[in-house]
Structures are given as structure tokens and as C-alpha cells.
Assembly symmetry: C2
Homo-oligomer: 464 residues x 2
Amino acid sequence: MNPAIQYVRDNRKRHLDQLTELLRIPSISTDPEKKKAIGQAADWVSSRLKEAGCTKVKIHKTAGHPIVYGEWLGAPGKPTLLVYGHYDVQPVDPLELWHTPPFEPTLRDEKLYARGASDDKGQVIIHVNALEAHLQTTGSCPVNLKFVIEGEEEIGSPHLDPFIGENSKMLACDAVVVSDTAMFAKGVPSICYGLRGLAYLQIDLTGTDSDLHSGTFGGAVVNPANALVAMLASLKDANGKIKIPGFYDNVRKLKAKERKAFASLPHSDSRYKKALGAPALFGEKGYTTLERTYARPSLDINGIWSGFTGEGAKTVIPAKAHAKISMRLVPDQTAKEIARKVKKHLKAIAPKSVKIEVTPLHGGEAWLADTDHPALAAAGRAMKGAFGRKPVFVREGGSIPVVGTFADVLKVPCVLLGVGLNEDNIHAPNEKMDLDQFYRGNEAAVLLFEEMGAGTPGGKKKKK
Amino acid sequence: MNPAIQYVRDNRKRHLDQLTELLRIPSISTDPEKKKAIGQAADWVSSRLKEAGCTKVKIHKTAGHPIVYGEWLGAPGKPTLLVYGHYDVQPVDPLELWHTPPFEPTLRDEKLYARGASDDKGQVIIHVNALEAHLQTTGSCPVNLKFVIEGEEEIGSPHLDPFIGENSKMLACDAVVVSDTAMFAKGVPSICYGLRGLAYLQIDLTGTDSDLHSGTFGGAVVNPANALVAMLASLKDANGKIKIPGFYDNVRKLKAKERKAFASLPHSDSRYKKALGAPALFGEKGYTTLERTYARPSLDINGIWSGFTGEGAKTVIPAKAHAKISMRLVPDQTAKEIARKVKKHLKAIAPKSVKIEVTPLHGGEAWLADTDHPALAAAGRAMKGAFGRKPVFVREGGSIPVVGTFADVLKVPCVLLGVGLNEDNIHAPNEKMDLDQFYRGNEAAVLLFEEMGAGTPGGKKKKK
């Protein structure tokens, strides 16, 4: 038995207890009242990196939340792998839908329930555990490691790009690994080679100076809530096609080869629908479910609010109406281009009876890896070793904007080795991590370091 | 000088202090947590009726909030006037937009700011003050009086109709007077002869079992917020016409005479727009602003909520989306008919990818009085005496469902003698009552009793 594998097996309880500690910290990056928790989470990560064997551990201040850095460079001549992850988490509302409090990690049915269990605390930590396993058993590690664990991923990583730019020498490496995605399914390990981008905007409409009585004034003035629903409804047609001028201009067409590969994945619409509890699936006509989420852009209302939302009936014409909308983007759309087009279109269609403000809140670029790169093959072998099955190559509908930055600034490949599951309820109530996924994740990271450190590391810079 | 008029002038401060006391009680009828305040308000009204000289004062329990009754029947042979009003008030959110707390009545620029100042505490009380004025100065009152002051007007008076039905003998009268409307404008007294009805519904859509990550799932499933805005947007066309099948079937056409009368009122769209702070007015094409609010049905979103509504960006596909909508109705639409048609239509247009629930919350019928009735003439003379100008005859876009009930059950005319102003911000933050309106209102009530008690009372039952 591989001693590092034996080590993570022997230390399952300790590693789980440590994760539980981290999950108790309510490090919601978007909430200004959680600044203290953010600091606590950064401190925790910093201590854990030191404990695992990292040197030069430092909490780098930014204008926002800090970035924790640590490294282990004790394998001269071996490739260097940069592990990226985040210690911040999504908000927790609607709180009343959580079966147990989001920051009181709770074990049920071999699953650990807590905000951040899968996204991303429970995933980033597997690499720290793997470093510890190698060092504690052999005194060394097959690869050099650099850790960059930030606190603003859930708000678009506004200070990470400058950090990478300013510290590109410190961060120089042969490959980046990110564990912040889901496997294709439980029992179906996967390597993700594509991510969608994101453009997120807030729309604020104002009608009158004050809320009005809907009897006295109903029919006389525009109701900004009515105006807002009309504007939002017009953004998509009945076939799920987005109607914003120029929206599809730069969308890269799906290749026949990819469509074939997606079609061969063990996906079932009826199982998928049942798992989500959806009465029916719906999306852009002419594309399968996987094609729509992997490789076609989408537009969703993430939040809408106006007027009276309490119990009972209040007969008011609201003065204001608000919505948060976001578009998932695919190559070769850019967040900036789409935000500009959407803002322009919304201003053009707003009725003159309302004032409109459109504020871009968040953006990130889509990303596609070269599936032939040896780093991806090495990751594939590690996943096979840990999960007992050759991984499938998939894309992911979500966005990890920093992946594009690493590719651009450090000029290295990026490996997305996710051990979460789609049913982990990330960004939703009752987020969880399956214990089995966590334990196998630790083993996958152990094996990844070995695979990358052996033979021709996939992480080597391609000079071409 | 009329001694009762002199009395209300001498007692302005006392009457204002009393109103202030009542306005301190947060009697929000729709809020289950305000049950105690409802009881306090009913007690206050009961004490005040006794103090003013009423007998048989009683707080009648109902399955909901109590109805306060009191009477003064010391003028045998004279007509009996029933005064209806309500001690409950609307909710106060958005609380942050109030300049002073809604239940801490505050005087600014000769206006009293508080929830309920105009709707209806500050209006119903003028009749109690007027009874007191007559009794304290002459030992008698020109008319017999019955007071019915309820606590559920703002939630559709669910227990008032049964109360009137069961107590029709006790409530027998020659006319009903309601002060719960606004004058046409400051300096332009008016008598209201028409009200719109109301059908109010809540719509709840459910997509998936749980909120979803908008990256992983965006494009795969229907977003109930997107479905809701599409459904709501389809209810009206770009000309403000309501597209629900059969909605206009029973709408009584405006008579040329009424259109002419409305057109002659001292209304200015540009002043109206400016007063509301609206960038532009908007409503059903082919009708003037007054025609739209007085005599055409309307449809408004009163509240909408779904997904993330906090600060920042949360990339979620909400599991649920909700809206409260209401239609103002005109003769001869009925609340029941319209609620049924709207519910049926919403269920028909809901995509099969969401579950839908539609719950009627509130309803009331439109009402139109006979403008030739002598009771309206008597009220006109009282308003002229108090406000120094002959009142104009107007309709009102709001709804007072009980007016229809009084007309149907007691078979008597109803006089809507409102002393509020359109700019009173009823149902909105910073509700207020102009002190001048309140003081003149007391005088209008004093004169109304005299006018109704003298000559051929307008309140006499018409036997035909």
C-alpha cells in the first residue's frame, strides 16, 4: 500500500474534524458584516498550511478580503503545481430552508451538511491533506507546491487578478490545479476542460417619488414592477433564445465531435429532472441538456423584488422595482462585451415612464482547455486511482474566472479536478459534501502529486 | 356664529391631541403580531364614543378583529345617519423611507405625519367630534347617529358583511356617511359618487425542489422567476390594455356626460405628474388620466419577490417565485368573476415546467351612487360651508367594499364625504393629514348633521 494513501485513510477522522472547524466560520464574502469571519477563515487556512508543512505562509492583504499563500518547494528539479481554491462562501438565505444551521456542520447519512462543504472548503483542503500525507510518510513530496487560497471567489475575485499580476514570479509554476467543480456523477469521475463565463447585472427602476395607493392611482402611472416584468420577459423568447441584440455574435459553435462526446456521457434527462424535482426541463431549443449547460449561454433572473412581500394584501403601486440578472457565457463571448450589450439594450427598452439604472456587479470569462495536454492525462490517472474508474471529459456550466487569468498570466495549463457532486446544493440551502467523496478526494490529490511528479509531468510548460 | 362650529374651533388642540393618541396605536390589521394593538385601538374608539356622548357603546367580537358600535338616538323624528369608518391601518414597510416613525405622530409644516392619519383614523374621528360639538353646545344633535367603526377594512372587511347582515335592525338608518376618501384637490372640495372594486390574488410558482447554482444548471431548467415575469408581462399589452380573456366583458361604458364632467374638473396631467415625481404618465390608450382612474379597470403588481435580494451578487436559480397582483374593477365587473377569470388564465399560461398556485386574497365590488339623490346635495352644502366652495362630483379609483354592502343590505344611500388629499401618501411611507383639512373636516361633519337634520333630509328612504 502507498504510504501516503494509507496516511490519509488513517487520518480520515482528523481531516474531517479539521474541515468541520473551517466550516463553522461564516465567511460569506458578499456580506459586509462578515468581515471578522473572513479574517478568521484566512487565519485558519494559514495555520493549517503551516501545520501541513508549508513555508513562507502569509496572509496577503488586498483592498478586499485577504489571499492566503503558502509553498513547499523541497523537490528541486520536480515540477511545481499551484493549487488554487477559496475559503469564502455563498450567502445562506433562504435560511428557513436549511434543515440544520449552515454554520453548524452536521453529519447525516455519511454526508457533512454546511455552507462551503463542497464549494470550496471541502475541496481545496484535500490538497493540503495530500501534502501533509506525503511529508509525514516519506519526508518529501513528488511535486513542489504553491497554494493560493482566496476569500473573494464568490464575489468575482476582484483582487485576485492584480495579485497574480503583481506576484507572477512568486506564483511561477508548471500547472495549476483547481478543485472547485463537481464530478459528472457519483461513481463517474470526470475531468472538466471547459467553464462558462459570467456577466451579472443589477437593474433598478424608479417610477414615482413614493409608493402609491393602487386604487387612487392604478391606471394613471406606470407601475415599475409591471415595467420590469415586461422588460425581463422580453429578453428571452418562448424557445429559450436570448433576444438581446448581438448576444450570440461571438458564440463559438459546438463541434460535431463534442456533441457526440456529450451524447455518450451517462446522462438521463428523466433522472436529472427527478433529482432536481423539476416538473419538466426547459432550455434553448435545438440543444440537449448537457449542450445547453456546457456550451450554450444562458440568462437567469437571480433575484427580483418590488412592493409588498409580506403576509396578506397591501394595495400599493411600488415606487421602485429591482432585479439581479446574469448571463452564463461561452467562448468567445466576453463578460465586458455582454454587460455592455445588455445594459444598452435594457436602457433602450425601458419605458420613458420609469428611470432606469443598470449596474454590472460581477464578470468572468469562459475557458476551454486543450484536452490533449499531458497534465489532463495525469489528472485522469489520479482520478482513476482514487475513484476506480477512468474519468470522462466534461465541461461545467459554472464559472471560475481565475482559471482564465492563470492561463493568460502564468501561461500554464489548468487542471480542474473536482470531487464535488451536482447534488451538493452549492449556492443553495443544505449544501453538503459526501464523506466518501471527501476521503477519495484526499487520495486523488495524493495520486495527482505522484502522477505529476513522475515521468513527463503534464504540468511542464509547452514551448511552441 | 354657529355654536357647534365655534366649539370645534375652540377644541382644535384637544381633538388633535386625541387623534395623536389614536395614531400611536400600530393597528395594522394584516399583521398577526399586531393583535394587541388592534384591541387597544378598538378600546380607544369605544372610550372616545362614550366620551362624545354615545350610548350602547359595544366592542363586537368577530372571528377576526372587533367592530366598535355606538349610537346617539336622542332626536326622535329626525333622520338617522350611520357613520362608517375603520380604526385599522395599512402596513408600514418600506419603513426606511419614513422620515419619522409611522407610529410616532409628528407635526411638520402644519401636517400630522403618521400611518392612519388620513386613512382612516383622522377622517372617521371628525364625525365623533361633530357629535360632541352639537351635544356640548345645544344639548342635542340635529340627526340621530350610529357609528360602525371596524378593524379589518385594509384586509377586505371579511367579517363586516356578516355583521351588517346579522344586525340590520340595529343598523337601520336613513343614510350612511363614509369619510375615507380624498377631496379632488386642496381647495377643491368634492363629493365622491363612485368607487372601483378590487380583486387581489397571490401567485406562487415552484420550479425545482431547491435553489440551484445558475452556472451548473442555467439553461437546463425553467427559472420560476423568468416564468413569472413572462406570465405577468403577458397580462397587459403595450397600450395598457389587459389581455385576460373576458376581462372587459362586463365593463360599463363611460357615458358622454360623465366624460364631459371629468374633463371639466380642474385637473392637469403635468401638475399631477410633477406631484407624483413620475417621469411620464401611462395607462390604457384612449382614456384620460381621470377616466382611467375613475372608471376603467386596472391591473397592478403590488409585490413581487424571488431569489436573492440582498447586497451583491448571488448566482442562484430560485426554486420559487411569488407575486401579488390586483385588479381595480368598475361596474358591472364583479370581484368573484374577475378572480375566477384571472386564476383560470394564469393556470392556462403557466409553463408545464413550473407548479403554480393562485390564491385570491381580497375582493370587493365597485359602486356608483345616484348623483341626483338629496343626500348628496345635503353633503354638498356641508362641504361648501366648511371649505368655502361648492364641491365637484367625482369618482375615486380606490375601493370601499362596504359601501356596496350598505347599499344592498340597508337599502339606503351612501355619502362619501372625504376630507383627505391625494398627496396624503395613504398606503405609502409618510402618510399625513393636513391640519387645515382635519379642522375643516370637523366643521363639515358638524354642518352635515345640520343639513341632514333640516328640511327634507337627503337621508330619507326613497320609496319607489
